[in-house]
Structure formats: C-alpha cells, structure tokens
C-alpha cells in the first residue's frame, strides 16, 4: 500500500505502540484486498459484545488501553452483551456482567464513546452521502451505504478499533466507485406491509445475491417506506447474504448511477416467495418468549409496541430492546410503562443475539422464541432456539396467550 508521511510514522511506531499495531493490521487487510492506499474516515463504530470478544478479546482491549492508545476520530460502540440495569431479568451471571464492565472501562480509556447501539444512523449521527466511515455491525453498514450513500466496508471489531486509532481505513471494496455499481437486478411484485414483510423481502434478496461483493438493484417498490422498514430490510439482507450495499430504483440516493437497468432481470420476487420464507419460521404455536430486537427498536417502533401492549397481561416474557439514546425518551413519554405494566421488559444498550443468547436460553428454559425480526430468526437456530417469525401484532398476542394466533 502507498503510505503518506503520517501513515509511515504510525507504522514506524512514532505515534505509539497501539497505533503501530493498528496500522499493521490494516496494512495486512489492505494488502489482501489490493488496496492502493488509505482513506480518511470521519467516524468509527465498533461491534464488541463480550460473547464475541471472550476473555482474550477483552484482555487485548485492556492491553491497548494500557499502552495509552487513544482514538483520533469519533468512535462509538455497537450493543453490549448485557443491560447492566436488567442483567437479572436475563439471568446473566456475574462473570458476564464483570466481563462487560471490563470492556466498557477499556473503551472509556481509549476515548471511545460507549453508545451501545446498532441504530446509530437513527440516534447518533447518520453519515452524509459520500462520507467515508468505518462501521461495524452489518445492519449499520448496509444502511449507511444504501440509504445514506456513505461509504463503508464491514469493519469487524479489531478493524474498527484500528480505524478509530488511525483515523483511516484501507481503500478497497465499497470505498471504491466501481464496487458500488449494481451486479444483479431484482424485480419485486409485492408490497411489504409489516416490518417482518420488509425483513423477509430483504432476506430473500440477500439469499439470492449470495455474497459480500454482490450489489442488488431492486425495482418495483413504490416510494420509500421510511427508516424503520429499510432498517429491517437491510439488516435481513445483510444477515442472509452478507450484503453491504443495495440500490432501490427511484428511492436510494445512488440508484440512478448504479446503472442497474443495464442488467438483465435475473430474479423476480412475488408474495408467494415472501410467504414461503416466513412460513419456514412458523413451525410451532406454543412459545416460551417474545423478543423485539435485531436491530434495536426506534422510538416509533416502541410507540407502536406500547400501543399494542396497553391493557394486556402477558403469560410469557416479552423483551423489547432499544438503544440507550431512545430508552430515556421511551421512559419519559410513558411507552416503557405501558410495555412493562403488561409484564414486558424494555431493555437498553444490548441486542438479544449479542447478549449470550445460548446462556440466556439455558438459564431461562427458553427455546421457542417469537419475533418480528427476520435477522433474529436467521441467527438463532445456531444458538439452539426454535425461532418463530410473526408480525409485531401477532407476537404481542402470543405473549398474552402463550401461543401464536393462527
């Protein structure tokens, strides 16, 4: 890679051991992908729940914090592995809480803002079109690239930490104009109505697209459905296909220049396809728990949920997970009270699958989990759950009756 004077100084150790180690890692990754040079980033976002890091990852964070590494650009965090205020609700043992505390402490020493959110584009600061960033969390990256027109690759935790420390990232993948052009054209003959419809459609397109370098160009969706719909659409697409960028004809900012209309229509998706994906997660009626998470809920989603919970009494646990930025507003506006008066819990700063989902299942005896998140049902099978997909309305009914209504 071609390095400038500052980058050579970083590599030579003149800016400290942490920065040297960070840029060495970045050069290794950049060389793998044939990056010509670095691109400066305005912000970084680190996925760093301790289920992923383990003791080894937390010890590594502590070691770079001890070596006086400090981030050079605003750097924030993805959800933590617990909600410290509600660890008891999840039956998280003390060792999990303590590991999380250590990670938070290390991040603070590094100068990282522990925002603990995967919806930073709704709550912290959405990147602008053309802005180069180093975001972790696939849902965050696909939203930033597709809806905002910003530029990011998937930056896994260690690489996002490195980007924060150096203020740059190797220039490859979706930082390059040529990688942002559409590679497959999908025509949709279906109008998604619910968030899980949007998620199912995104999941189908992700499955068809198949790998990180594919860029779907999607036609047939009339008008933008708004941020929450596109949040679920992108998160599911990224989850099913490892996709980082899509274009919606007439909707997303780079759709016109993505040149998708030059491609043949290879895939058509109709209502039957969407229903088939949804019915693949509809095998059981009895449920053990209802979870709204992945991504964290916006204030508007919590508003809808609170209205559905109002006046009910739940027979099964219902968990609604949001960001630490949204939670105070939900408290202040009475939304949390409506959900919790029905017997639910509003959790903050975590995300269900990033919070020791296997340990939660064993501690609470939960197996059959109902959710409206297509991303969540795609993940939880590997954690031993039987995931069940339904609309928010049906999930709330399921919490009340103990079974999903037909």
């Amino acid at each position: 890679m071609r390095l400038n004077d500052l980058e050579r100084a970083m590599l030579g150790g003149e800016l400290g051991a942490a920065v040297k180690s960070a840029i060495e890692h970045q050069v290794m990754v950049g060389d793998f992908f044939g990056a010509a040079d670095f691109v400066p980033v305005t912000q970084a976002h680190i996925m760093a729940d301790t289920e992923s890091l383990g003791e080894a990852g937390v010890a590594w964070l502590e070691s770079i914090a001890k070596s006086e590494g400090r981030v050079r650009v605003p750097t924030i965090t993805d959800p933590r592995g617990t909600d410290f205020a509600k660890a008891g609700v999840l039956k998280h043992p003390e060792w999990i809480v303590e590991l999380e505390r250590r990670a938070v402490e290390a991040f603070k020493k590094l100068g990282v803002l522990t925002t603990d959110t995967c919806i930073n584009y709704q709550t912290i600061q959405a990147p602008a079109r053309g802005e180069s960033v180093a975001f972790g969390d696939t849902g965050v990256v696909i939203y930033a690239n597709s809806v905002c027109g910003a530029r990011s690759n998937y930056e896994g935790g260690p690489s996002a930490v490195a980007a924060g420390l150096t203020g740059r990232t190797p220039r490859y993948g979706f930082h390059l104009e040529e990688c942002r052009r559409a590679t497959l054209r999908v025509r949709v003959a279906f109008e998604p109505r619910t968030l899980n419809d949007w998620g199912a459609l995104g999941g189908l397109i992700g499955r068809l697209a198949g790998n990180y370098w594919a860029v779907p160009y999607v036609e047939g969706l009339e008008g933008s459905a708004g941020s929450d719909a596109l949040k679920h659409f992108g998160a599911a697409m990224a989850s099913f296909g490892s996709i980082a960028l899509y274009h919606l004809a007439g909707i997303t900012p780079e759709a016109a220049e993505a040149d998708g209309s030059r491609l043949k229509v290879l895939h058509r998706i109709g209502e039957a396809d969407v229903k088939a994906l949804q019915s693949a997660y509809a095998g059981e009626e009895e449920i053990d728990v209802v979870v709204f998470s992945a991504p964290q809920l916006s204030l508007y989603e919590l508003r809808s949920l609170a209205a559905l919970c109002d006046g009910r009494r739940f027979a099964r646990p219902l968990l609604a997970v949001t960001s630490p930025q949204v939670k105070p507003d939900a408290d202040r506006l009475g939304l949390t009270k409506k959900i919790e008066d029905a017997g639910g819990h509003v959790l903050s700063g975590m995300c269900f699958y990033q919070s020791y989902a296997r340990e939660i299942a064993e501690a609470n005896g939960w197996k059959r989990l109902a959710t409206n998140s297509v991303k969540l049902v795609n993940i939880l099978g590997g954690y031993g759950y039987v995931p069940l997909l339904a609309s928010m309305e049906r999930c709330v009914e399921a919490a009340e009756k103990g079974r999903l209504p037909k």
Partner: protein, 132 residues
C-alpha cells in the same frame, strides 16, 4: 492436485479438510463451546471443526467472526484454516487478528474439487492448496 488461490494470509499448515458448499459465520454456524457446527441447516451440523481445514463457499452473516476466530484460538477450539470461494472483509480481518490461515478465490468451485476428508497442505506464500 494443487489449487492456487488469488488471495492468502497466514502460516503454512497441513491437516484434514471438511468440505461443504455452505457459507461460514462463526456466530451463526458454530457452537464455540463444544467446537461443533450447530446451525441445523448447515451440511456440517454436528461435526467438530477443531483443528480442521474448512473448505466452504463464502462468508455469511455478521461481523462477529472478526473477534471470534481470535477468541476460539485463545482456547484452542479453532479451525486450522479456512478455504473459501469468496470472502468478505470480516473473515480476512478475523484471520489477520486471530492468526488463522485463509485462502480465497479459485478457478472453479473449490468445494467441488477438494475431496471431503482429504489431507491437504496450505502454503499462503505461494497461495496454494495441495491435496496429499
């Protein structure tokens, strides 16, 4: 048989391969406590990945693998190497951070060409996989 990859990282290794035309994500697919594939729909479900060279199609899922390869390596419950038709940045970042050998990008589908259970040698310096 020798196969040459377009991209490589890590140290030279020799071991037995598990082959499937499935994707790979440490979070989605693995029980990292038991060291087995746990996603019911994965073709390698129930099999131990520890010390094995995994020959798979492409990277799937989220970003957690970037941490998890390092974490699994710290406990000695880690694949010996990963060989894929295509990778996303997460697998590369994770391999670099966790010290796991990685090859990617071949002429043709590598999962259709390497026999399941074979012993192979991988040399990242020459970007090669040799079936022994």
């Amino acid at each position: 048989m020798i196969f040459t990859a377009r991209q490589a990282i890590g140290a030279r290794v020799r071991g037995q391969v598990l082959v499937a035309h499935d994707g790979f994500s440490a979070r989605y697919d693995l029980d990292r406590i038991r060291g087995t594939f746990s996603r019911p729909s994965h073709k390698l479900a129930g099999q131990s990945y520890v010390g094995k060279i995994l020959v798979l199609d492409t990277a799937k899922g989220g970003v957690a693998t970037a941490w998890m390869l390092h974490e699994m390596a710290s406990r000695g419950i880690v694949p010996l190497a990963l060989v894929l038709n295509s990778v996303n940045p997460i697998l590369v970042q994770g391999a670099a951070f966790g010290g796991v050998t990685l090859l990617a990008g071949f002429d043709g589908d590598i999962t259709a060409q390497v026999p399941h259970g074979a012993t192979v040698e991988i040399d990242p310096a020459s970007r090669s996989l040799r079936v022994l």
